[in-house]
């Protein structure tokens, strides 16, 4: 288990830093421009979903969508818009204009808002079903689907899932995952177990 021991603390530090950076970055007083950009090598397989404060140049990557096309990345971007708006953050598109929301979008935002208002503790899972990765937030009998993603690798869907864990912890939720990573906005309090059976 030396391999896991070697890098476990390093990864845990990284996660804690991500949570802390996000908490520092997000403010309900700001308006954020959200955008989706491909990687500099133009592989068309790596997409960064980024937030930027108006009049500022630095961007904050909230999700990296790998092993998929731009359509999937744009879908994830849209789900983050709904999620962040439901948390009270002001999000606009790349040209600084407000998003047009459909009835379905508004229903989703209401669902997100009610779920996260009622649940300070959230379990985040990635449930594969019928060629689709469903990223689900739940607590006991209550739950909501953050995203249902097709045309992406398992690894790509899990990276999105893990970045949602960081986002939720950064937003102040107490988050649990199926790999027993548990944390909140103060960082990860437990981390992946050394389960030899799973090697």
């Amino acid at each position: 288990m030396k391999y896991f021991e070697q890098i476990k603390n390093r990864i845990r530090e990284q996660i804690d830093k991500c949570i802390s950076d996000l908490s520092d970055f997000l403010s309900e007083k700001e308006t954020y421009i959200i955008s989706c950009n491909g990687d500099p090598l133009k592989t068309d397989k790596v997409w960064f979903i980024e937030l930027r404060e108006k009049n500022m140049t630095s961007k904050f990557v909230i999700s990296c969508v790998i092993d998929s096309g731009e359509e999937v990345a744009r879908y994830i971007l849209h789900r983050y818009v709904l999620l962040l708006q439901s948390f009270g953050y002001s999000i606009v598109d790349e040209v600084g204009e407000e998003f047009d929301f459909s009835e379905k979008d508004i229903d989703t935002m209401i669902e997100f808002s009610e779920f996260f208002k009622n649940n300070s503790s959230v379990t985040i899972e990635n449930d594969y079903d019928n060629d689709c990765f469903n990223i689900i937030c739940s607590n006991k009998n209550d739950g909501t689907v953050f995203a249902s993603v097709k045309d992406i690798s398992a690894r790509g869907s899990w990276v999105i899932t893990k970045q949602l864990v960081i986002m939720m912890a950064g937003l102040g939720k107490f988050v649990k995952t199926s790999d027993n990573t548990i944390g909140n906005k103060y960082g990860i309090v437990e981390f992946i177990p050394n389960n030899e059976k799973n090697q």
Binding site: K2, Y3, F4, Q6, I7, K8, R10, I11, Q14, I15, K17, C18, D21, L22, F25, D39, P40, L41, T43, V46, F48, E50, T57, S58, K59, F60, V61, I62, S63, C64, I66, Y128, A154, R155, W158, V159, K162, Q163, I166, S178, D179, T181, I192, P193, N194, N195, N198, Q199
Partner: protein, 147 residues
């Protein structure tokens, strides 16, 4: 779908390396030749994950490439200075990719596939990068495959 700790680690590293502030205005990414003597007996196998710590101040290096399959304490890959008056992500990426390919060749691999995940901090020219070596093959592997 069977999930392993290794999967989790690789995903956590990918997730955390790409998460956060990016797009530096400051240009300082210095690249120096990788020094072979720093890592005499390291072999990188398929599925390796290499990742970096923050590059800061005047010490510019990528720290810790970790082999998923064996026990190695870490690798230092120094990278050359990038010419130009301003920071260019593409040049930086290509340089880093080149250095890693060279590194892999030096350790006996004849083919490899690399992805670079990277984020650049605006302040102090700090840079954090990760490189995932997704596939690699030695001449031995090739012989085995051909048999």
């Amino acid at each position: 779908m069977k999930r392993t700790n290794k999967d989790n680690f690789i995903e956590w590293i990918s997730a955390t390396c790409s998460f956060g502030l990016s797009e530096g205005k400051n240009s300082l990414v210095e690249v120096q030749e990788h020094l072979k003597s720093d890592m005499p007996d390291i072999k990188i196998r398929r599925g390796i994950l290499a990742y970096s710590s923050t590059i800061c101040d005047n010490e510019h290096f990528i720290k810790k490439a970790i082999d998923c399959n064996s026990e190695i304490p870490g690798v230092f890959i120094k990278i050359d200075s990038i010419e130009g008056s301003y920071y260019c992500e593409l040049i930086a990426d290509n340089n880093i990719k080149f250095m890693f390919l060279k590194f892999i060749e030096e350790t006996g691999f004849i083919s490899s596939k690399i992805h670079i995940y990277k984020k650049v901090f605006e302040s102090n020219g700090k840079v954090t990068m990760s490189v995932v070596i997704e596939e690699s093959m030695t001449s031995e592997d090739l012989e085995t495959k051909n048999e």
